[in-house]
């Protein structure tokens, strides 16, 4: 079986953009910024005229993609091919555009609906923006499966690479926040004072963010993707976690989630969750995977590991487990 590896990372998070910024955030131990994610630096990759009509989720996704490709040493013109695939994963989709479209219906009436707002509210438009900007004409897929989004995205990418369909896949995972989300989180017991993983009670603190990973077969990069398993019981996941040098938990601070992660962590020697740095996102499994990959290469301010397990609770007694090694 061909070994699929993580070749590049493109974090676009409230704690920083790019691998160096993420490394610094991991080492700095600062609190959770109460801010959005600026995407101004996208102008370093695309002319402003091309960016103007791209919605905010699309901008984050594009910036993350460019950063990940650069980190992987892949020039944009090299990615511009049918040998590159795109998987975009998002649980909530383009919230800004979705509510802008609804604003149009409510404020302007049925006959004055904006076609651009409607188009931008379609979940796969971020993948389309990446395809259009980078000229990628290989397979493209958008997954919206809440706790299963990250695992499913990696399974798609791995299949396309292993089957020879493509040479590399850009896996891009992103979420936005919105006033509606802030309201719902508040009513559900979450807050704005930071995520407290592995603790009782709800500390869900929503933040926007995006992480892109370049996967491919080259014998370089951060780590080998050993396995992606969905639908594990907590006991099965704990057993997998116990076999790895370190366990990274995508704990976004939901009460039910934190309890499950404590059970998972019981058999592990080194356990970590970094959501206090980047906030609560439904795709945080992808962010923890990126941090685990940094730890494998000794680039993160956590002990260098040979193997790592990355866990995401996807439902009651259902865990997605990603295993990587150096």
């Amino acid at each position: 079986m061909n070994d699929v590896r993580i070749l590049g990372l493109g974090p676009v998070l409230v704690c920083g953009q790019g691998v160096e910024a993420l490394e610094q955030a991991l080492g700095g131990g600062g609190g959770l910024p109460n801010a959005g994610v600026p995407t101004d630096s996208l102008t370093g990759f695309l002319p402003p005229a091309r960016i103007r009509r791209i919605d905010s989720l699309g901008r984050m996704a594009l910036l993350a993609s460019y950063l990940a490709l650069r980190d992987a040493g892949v020039a944009p013109e090299e990615a511009c091919s049918d040998r590159t695939g795109i998987v975009f994963g998002t649980a909530f989709g383009p919230q800004t555009s979705t509510f802008a479209y609804l604003d149009g219906i409510i404020d302007a009436g049925d006959q004055m609906v904006s076609s651009l707002a409607f188009t931008n509210s379609v979940h796969n438009l971020a993948a389309a923006q990446i395809s259009l900007a980078l000229g990628i004409i290989g397979p493209a897929r958008t997954l919206t499966t809440f706790g299963y989004t990250v695992g499913g995205s990696l399974l798609s990418a791995r299949h396309w690479i292993r089957s020879g369909r493509v040479d590399r896949v850009l896996v891009v995972l992103g979420e936005e926040t919105s006033p509606v989300m802030t309201y719902a989180v508040s009513r559900m017991g979450g807050g704005s004072d930071g995520v407290r993983p592995f603790t009782q009670g709800c500390s869900y603190t929503a933040r926007p963010g995006c992480i892109a990973l370049v996967l491919g077969l080259e014998a370089k990069g951060y780590a080998r993707l050993v396995d992606v398993e969905e639908g594990l019981t907590a006991a099965e996941a704990a057993e997998r976690a116990g076999q790895a040098d370190g366990l990274f938990c995508a704990d976004s601070g939901r009460a039910d989630e934190s309890i499950a992660y404590r059970e998972l962590a019981a058999k592990s020697l080194r356990v970590a969750s970094h959501s206090p740095l980047y906030g609560s996102l439904a795709i945080s499994l992808g962010i923890e995977l990126a941090i685990a990959a940094l730890a494998i290469t000794g680039k993160a301010a956590v002990p260098t590991l040979r193997t790592a397990a990355v866990a995401g609770v996807s439902g009651p007694d259902r865990v997605t487990m990603i295993s990587i090694e150096g």
């Binding site: 079986m1 049918d82 989709g93 919230q95 979705t98 479209y101 609804l102 219906i105 409510i106 009436g109 049925d110 006959q111 609906v113 904006s114 076609s115 409607f118 188009t119 509210s121 379609v122 979940h123 796969n124 438009l125 993948a127 389309a128 395809s131 259009l132 980078l134 000229g135 990628i136 004409i137 290989g138 397979p139 493209a140 897929r141 958008t142 997954l143 919206t144 499966t145 809440f146 299963y148 695992g151 499913g152 399974l155 798609s156 791995r158 299949h159 292993r162 089957s163 369909r165 509606v180 309201y183 719902a184 009513r187 969905e230 639908g231 019981t233 996807s314 439902g315 009651p316 259902r318």
Partner: protein
């Protein structure tokens, strides 16, 4: 890397064309078209278009989920109803599935969108609305809902590739079987029409005020539809072990991005051709029995699709479009059309393309004008999507 060959062992469908495959197929073969103004909501867009609604009372709610836990979205209800039929056809009892490594791959658009208009109106007014709409959204993402309801342990994925979602969900099932991730996949698509997509498509000026006319010279747009299509995709070895005779082989899948335009297809159909060639997996285009085309009845789609099909398969290729019976069911469209494609191969027949009358030379193909007998070789179902997505799945008749 191929672990096993996927076959189709069960089919289920629900649309304006009928509840249940036999009913829908008989209705389509008889040329029955059933569309009209929306009955569940009111809307006043600049251009009123009929829709293909699933009639209330014309379908049976699923018994998979206990009464007290019945789903509260039509998307999930439609899917479960079609799933009942598909599982029965596959000879799979619900209680035999629990705890097993069975995948769920569902395409949808509306089914995973956080766009409850009533809730948002109240929120905008500062009324601090109840979170029922949010909880419904969180609990009813189709694939996790089905996996949880059946207590399954395999991979779970909801694909939102816009209008190609259902086709991609079937294709993903092929990938999972080939990877050996599971031996059975519940695959398909589901969607419901509401004001949100109805007004959105109207704003794009691509809906028709008449019943849609795929590939017709006078076509002027699509009609929205709704429903669900479900296919039980199974490793051949699993079907053999269970003693189940497959309905067809799922022989190929391709998808590609155009990188051309957000809402218009690549004018040369290059992306669609790449997806088709991948789905063909080296098969001789001359052996094809038919193509179940995306055939939205929009001016651009049908020209791009028709000319691409003619270039690849020849201008005489047999083409059918079924949106004249179902409307454009968005995330369900590809799944419904995959179900109809398998049914065509099983029965050796195709319905007339409802709405088609006058050939358009620009489309380069002429779809079926009447119910037709066909050879049982292989057939392809295609989808094109917002954002420049293209997808195709290929089914082979069983000997």
């Amino acid at each position: 890397m191929i672990s096993d060959r996927p076959v189709v062992t069960g089919l289920g469908c629900l649309s304006a064309g009928g509840a249940g495959l036999e009913s829908a197929w008989a209705s389509m073969m008889a040329g029955v078209v059933s569309c009209g103004p929306p009955s569940r909501f009111q809307a006043a867009p600049a251009r009123q278009s009929p829709i293909f609604e699933v009639s209330a009372g014309a379908w049976a709610r699923s018994r998979i989920v206990p009464e007290a836990e019945l789903p509260r979205t039509l998307c999930v209800e439609f899917f479960l109803s079609a799933l009942d039929e598909a599982l029965a056809m596959a000879g799979l009892r619900v209680d035999s599935l629990r705890g097993r490594r069975i995948g769920v791959s569902v395409g949808t658009t509306v089914g995973c969108a956080l766009n409850d208009e009533e809730f948002y109106r109240a929120f905008k007014k500062g009324a601090e609305p109840d979170l029922a709409a949010i909880r419904r959204f969180l609990d009813h993402n189709p694939a996790p809902y089905v996996s949880r309801a059946l207590d399954l342990r395999g991979p779970v994925s909801t694909i939102n590739n816009a209008c190609a979602s259902g086709t991609d969900a079937v294709g993903q099932a092929l990938e999972w079987i080939e990877e050996g991730l599971c031996e059975i996949v519940i695959a398909g698509g589901t969607d419901e029409v509401s004001r949100v997509p109805y007004l959105g498509f109207s704003s794009l000026l691509n809906t028709s005020e008449r019943p849609c006319r795929p590939f017709d010279a006078g076509r002027d747009g699509l009609n929205l539809g709704e429903g669900a299509g479900v296919l039980i995709i199974e490793a051949q070895a699993s079907a053999e072990r269970r003693g189940v005779r497959p309905l067809a082989r799922l022989g190929g899948y391709g998808c590609s991005a155009d990188a051309y335009h957000m809402t218009a297809p690549h004018p040369g159909g290059a992306g669609l051709e790449r997806a088709l060639r991948q789905a063909l997996s080296g098969r001789d285009p001359a052996d094809i029995s038919f193509v179940n085309a995306h055939g939205t009845a929009t001016v651009l789609n049908d020209v791009v699709e028709g000319t691409t099909l003619a270039r690849l398969f020849g201008s005489g290729v047999r083409v059918v479009g079924t949106k004249g019976y179902t409307g454009h069911a968005l995330g369900a469209a590809g799944a419904l059309e995959a179900v109809f494609t398998v049914q065509g191969l099983r029965t050796g027949t195709l319905p007339a393309t409802a709405g088609f009358r006058d050939a358009d030379p620009a489309c380069a193909v002429i779809p079926t004008r009447e119910a037709t007998e066909i050879p049982k070789t292989y057939a392809v179902s295609t989808s094109l999507a917002f954002g420049g997505g293209n997808a195709a799945v290929l089914f082979e008749a069983m000997e």
